[in-house]
Subunit: 77 residues, 2 copies
């Protein structure tokens, strides 16, 4: 079963990479872009047919490896 996860910076955490993308977009005709924030996306294939079990395993992975919970949030899709 394939589980999708998004990891984003928490609100209030500076995102210089997103800021750079925003400024670049503003400079190339997209001047109505007021903010860009970048995050990470993971497609995880788990050998587990029960969706709830698979998701709870992926949640465990987020807490232990994929996200830094001090500055990041994760969302399992």
């Amino acid at each position: 079963m394939k589980i999708k996860v998004i990891v984003t910076l928490k609100n209030g955490v500076l995102d210089p990479q997103g800021k750079a993308i925003q400024q670049t977009l503003n400079g190339m005709t997209f001047d109505n872009v007021s903010e860009v924030r970048q995050g990470k996306y993971f497609d995880i294939e788990v050998n587990e047919s029960d969706e709830n079990k698979a998701k709870s395993q992926v949640e465990e992975m987020c807490k232990k490896l994929l996200a830094n919970l001090v500055i990041e949030d994760y969302k399992i899709l």
Copy 2:
């Protein structure tokens, strides 16, 4: 209006970063993870109240800057 975008590697394009994450997960009790692929996620705030217009602008941004269409696909959520 906030538009969310996911950029992923196309199928068949090697993803060494995802492979490294998979091997790390396998080594830390998650031995039923058979594949991980990593992508990028963007939260884009566009000053445009019409959702369709905002999405078509973001599509333009994906084509011109955010995704490398030779090796990546984008999906506007």
